[in-house]
């Protein structure tokens, strides 16, 4: 009964989304405010309906209702409750429901935080989001319904893939989807502006905080995915340039370009058409990512052949959304105008270079991800594009981008002078050059790449310090504290986000340059030493988990004869799917991670073992977190808060009175 209620709620949500996607947009076109006012209640009503559907599916999982096909396919009666709930988004159908659910959350958020927008704008934004959700709900109801019944009911479920039975799995997809779907708001703002023909600086100011929030979620989501691969796949890598990872990385690149381009549109009125195009790209890539990962097309393009309707729907949907918005763009964008001119050496010029580089990087990832799929689909042979490709492409593309990242924030708008910039930055340059050359030598190993990486990181930090010092010199206030407080939060946010990039680069450079890896056979009682740490293997014991049995190894780790920690890597065998899983043991630290995983059992209790000493690896994820915190800080800036507050004052007294009488 409960699943049917969920199914029914989904059908109702479809009806509401049809209303939401048509009436308000039509109303905005003809200036009928009655029709436009439908948007708000419709968006909120749709949220409640999808919430209901989501809860129904959650209930089916909690209740172990194996008469629901999706529940039977992705969970099992032995699976602990929290993983049963996380299994809602463990496969294709449920993750689509999560997608739509998050979309409706964003819609409700827009309906609440858009009181300062003109009514037509708000109606169009919610209408466009309604159209997107209509597409997704229609997809679910026609070809991938999570509420489909399995009759007769299964005795027990097929279980969730053991790789996904992990705390990271509980939060990683919602985070990532908050980011993916968040770009739908930026997309809706862009389409609404194109429809209304009002693309100006205020448009950029409105859509900026939404884009930044989505970007923050996506940053954390991608970082969590990388962290999950690091500790759960069990073999110590943190980024594989796997198509699944690329699918989440491409919208991130587009989103990063977008927030920088929106800065120019907001402050100078330039790059308008480009910002709109980037907003369309960012969301299109999010859609592409969602479908690439969940449709099975990556494991084989012929996965579609088993369910051609699904593949066809996805292709048509992508074509309508991307094609439709690009046609609209081609039709309306020429009216937008170009904005003020600027010299090549200026903040605009550098932000433009930043955008070009980010988009070039995006294009190269897209090529490496989709080309093998195309060849395979056309039966032209099977190829794969290895990680070396991405590594070779990324370093030369990102080096100038990061160099500009130091200069850009210090350059003047419109026209800056190179000699003057050079004078202001000569100390920063000298310090980063000398440190980058000397530091690796002090650490005992010098390669050009280590120096380059360190130089970029230190360059970001030193130029940020120079920028902050100049800001403080010009800020009002007598005391240092007063002047620090006078610096706007948006500026602090930018500094912090850029320093997050620096931390990230340090992490990557140190791991690539100094990590030590050793695969070896270890007998019971034997020791091995890497990176100054001695690992002693004390054998394995049998151990029984809730839905698996494991061999758990004990490794005593000592440094200079002093015991530092004891590590317990596991080799698990999950009962239901009879699948083996390596659970690495990690001893994290600010300056290094120790990482042990068990390979295979050999004779006499010996095991093949992999040991890692990974310096600074946690800085990679720490850097991403700092970037996201920077983004949050930036949107808490006064100018955005003022925009909302001012509107409340502006509301004419008459309407306020009318509201009071109504309520």
């Amino acid at each position: 009964m409960i699943p049917e209620i969920g199914h029914y709620a989904l059908i109702l949500a479809l009806c509401v989304s049809v209303v939401l996607g048509s009436l308000p947009i039509y109303g905005a076109a003809v200036g009928n405010s009655m029709l436009m006012s439908v948007a708000k209640p419709a968006a909120r009503g749709q949220f409640l309906l999808i919430l209901l559907a989501f809860c129904c599916l959650g209930y089916a999982f909690a209740d172990k209702d194996f008469s629901v096909l999706y529940v039977a396919a992705t969970s099992n009666s032995q699976l602990p409750l929290h993983y049963r709930l996380a299994a809602i988004w463990g496969a294709h159908e449920g993750s689509l429901l999560l997608w739509v659910f998050i979309l409706s959350i964003w819609m409700v958020a827009v309906s609440f935080f858009s009181t300062h927008l003109p009514e037509a704008m708000r109606a169009r934004i919610l209408g466009v989001m309604g159209l997107v959700s209509m597409g997704f709900i229609l997809f679910m109801l026609t070809v991938s319904n999570p509420f489909e019944r399995l009759i007769p009911a299964a005795l027990d479920g097929r279980d969730l893939n053991p790789l996904l039975q992990d705390p990271g799995m509980v939060i990683h997809p919602p985070m990532l989807y908050m980011g993916y779907v968040g770009f739908s708001v930026a997309f809706a703002f862009a389409i609404a502006a194109l429809l209304g023909g009002t693309l100006d600086a205020t448009w950029a100011r409105w859509s900026r905080p939404w884009t930044t929030v989505a970007w923050c979620f996506l940053t954390v989501g991608v970082a969590m995915g990388s962290g999950w691969a690091y500790y759960e796949l069990g073999w110590g890598g943190w980024w594989f340039w796997d198509p699944v990872e690329n699918a989440s990385f491409m919208p991130w690149l587009a989103g990063t370009a977008l927030i920088h381009s929106l800065a120019v549109t907001d402050k100078r009125g330039g790059f308008k058409a480009w910002s709109v195009l980037l907003a369309i790209f960012a969301f299109s890539l999010s859609l592409l990512g969602t479908f690439l990962v969940r449709s099975g097309v990556l494991t084989s393009v012929h996965a579609f052949a088993t369910d051609p309707k699904r593949g066809l729907f996805i292709l048509v949907f992508l074509a309508v959304v991307i094609g439709g918005s690009l046609i609209l763009y081609a039709w309306r964008a020429p009216r937008v105008g170009l904005g003020g001119g600027f010299s090549m050496v200026s903040r605009e010029g550098m932000l433009m270079a930043n955008n070009v580089l980010l988009v070039a990087a995006l294009g190269s990832v897209l090529l490496g991800t989709l080309y093998p799929l195309f060849l395979d689909a056309l039966d032209l042979g099977k190829i794969s594009v290895g990680p070396p490709y991405f590594d070779t492409v990324f370093v030369p593309l990102m080096t100038p981008a990061i160099f500009l990242m130091g200069i850009g924030p210090l350059a003047q708008w419109k026209k800056a002078s190179l000699p003057e910039l050079a004078t202001r930055l000569r100390w920063a340059f000298g310090v980063s050059l000398v440190t980058a050359l000397a530091l690796p030598l002090a650490m005992g190993q010098w390669t050009p790449l280590i120096s380059l990486g360190l130089m970029m990181a230190i360059w970001i930090v030193t130029t940020s310090a120079v920028g902050l010092r100049e800001r403080l010199a010009h800020a009002d206030g007598s005391s240092l504290l007063g002047r620090l407080a006078a610096v706007p939060r948006a500026y602090w946010g930018m500094l912090l986000a850029h320093c997050g990039v620096a931390l990230f680069i340090i992490g990557v450079t140190m791991v690539k340059g100094f990590e030590v890896e050793q695969d070896l056979r270890m007998n019971v009682g034997e020791t091995a030493t890497i990176g100054g740490y001695t690992f002693q293997f004390d054998g394995t014991q049998q151990y029984k988990g809730p839905n698996y049995i494991a061999a758990r190894g004990t490794f005593r780790v000592s440094q200079d004869g002093r015991e530092v920690t004891v590590m317990y890597p596991e080799k698990r065998r999950y009962n239901v799917q009879n699948q083996t899983m390596t659970e690495a043991a990690i001893s994290p630290g600010l300056l290094r991670d120790l990482y042990v995983s068990l390979g295979e059992p050999l004779d006499d209790g010996a095991w093949s073992v992999r040991l890692y000493h990974k310096p600074f690896i946690d800085w990679i994820w720490g850097g991403c977190l700092v970037m996201a915190v920077g983004g949050v800080l930036a949107i808490s800036d006064r100018r955005y808060r003022l925009a909302w507050r001012r509107k409340e004052v502006d509301v004419p007294a008459a309407t306020q009175m009318a509201r009071q009488t109504v309520s």
């Binding site: 893939n161 069990g234 073999w235 099975g296 494991t299 084989s300 012929h302 996965a303 001119g341 090549m344 070009v356 070039a360 294009g363 190269s364 090529l367 490496g368 080309y371 042979g381 099977k382 190829i383 794969s384 594009v385 290895g386 070396p388 490709y389 070779t392 492409v393 030369p396 593309l397 695969d519 070896l520 056979r521 799917q577 009879n578 699948q579 083996t580 899983m581 390596t582 995983s597 390979g599 295979e600 050999l602 010996a606 093949s608 992999r610």
Partner: protein
């Protein structure tokens, strides 16, 4: 400089940058493409010399042997028509098993042994890597040999 000349310079520099970037990307792309071959193709010497490639098929039952260092393993990859011996030093992935599908990346040694630098098995128990399934299907279609025990079951 007149604004018009400036704009030309702008566009020119942009185009040059674009050309350089595309060259860089395409060059890297070209040199990092990894092609996939079936054991039959390896046996027919259709594979590139001195360049890495991927091979896929089934790990032959009973072919896995391990040297005393516990790390170096030898096994045979087959598409049920032709067999290719493979040597790999390192830890095999969790899902590596005799009688199951496998994809390995590496180079062909002078003695015809495939020296794998990487053994891939990103799949679950009843799933065959698409390349491996493809190799088996091709060999079967060629009518070389058929097997009733083989279940190709891509999900």
């Amino acid at each position: 400089m007149k604004p018009r000349h400036k704009r030309f310079m702008f566009i020119g520099l942009g185009l040059i940058a674009l050309a350089v970037a595309s060259m860089l990307v395409l060059n890297a792309f070209q040199s990092n493409l990894v092609f996939f071959f079936t054991p039959t193709q390896v046996a027919n010497a259709e594979v590139p010399k001195g360049r890495g490639f991927r091979i896929g098929g089934m790990v032959e039952d009973g072919s896995l042997t391990r040297e005393s260092d516990g790390l170096t393993v030898h096994f045979v990859v087959t598409d049920l028509a032709k067999r290719v011996p493979v040597t790999f030093k390192g830890i095999l992935p969790d899902l590596f098993k005799e009688g199951k599908g496998v994809v390995a990346q590496g180079q062909l040694g002078p003695d015809g042994t495939f020296l794998a630098s990487e053994v891939l098995a990103k799949h679950d128990e009843n799933y065959m890597p698409p390349e491996a399934a493809d190799a088996l299907a091709k060999a079967k279609a060629a009518g070389a040999q058929s097997s009733s025990t083989l279940v190709v079951n891509p999900r």
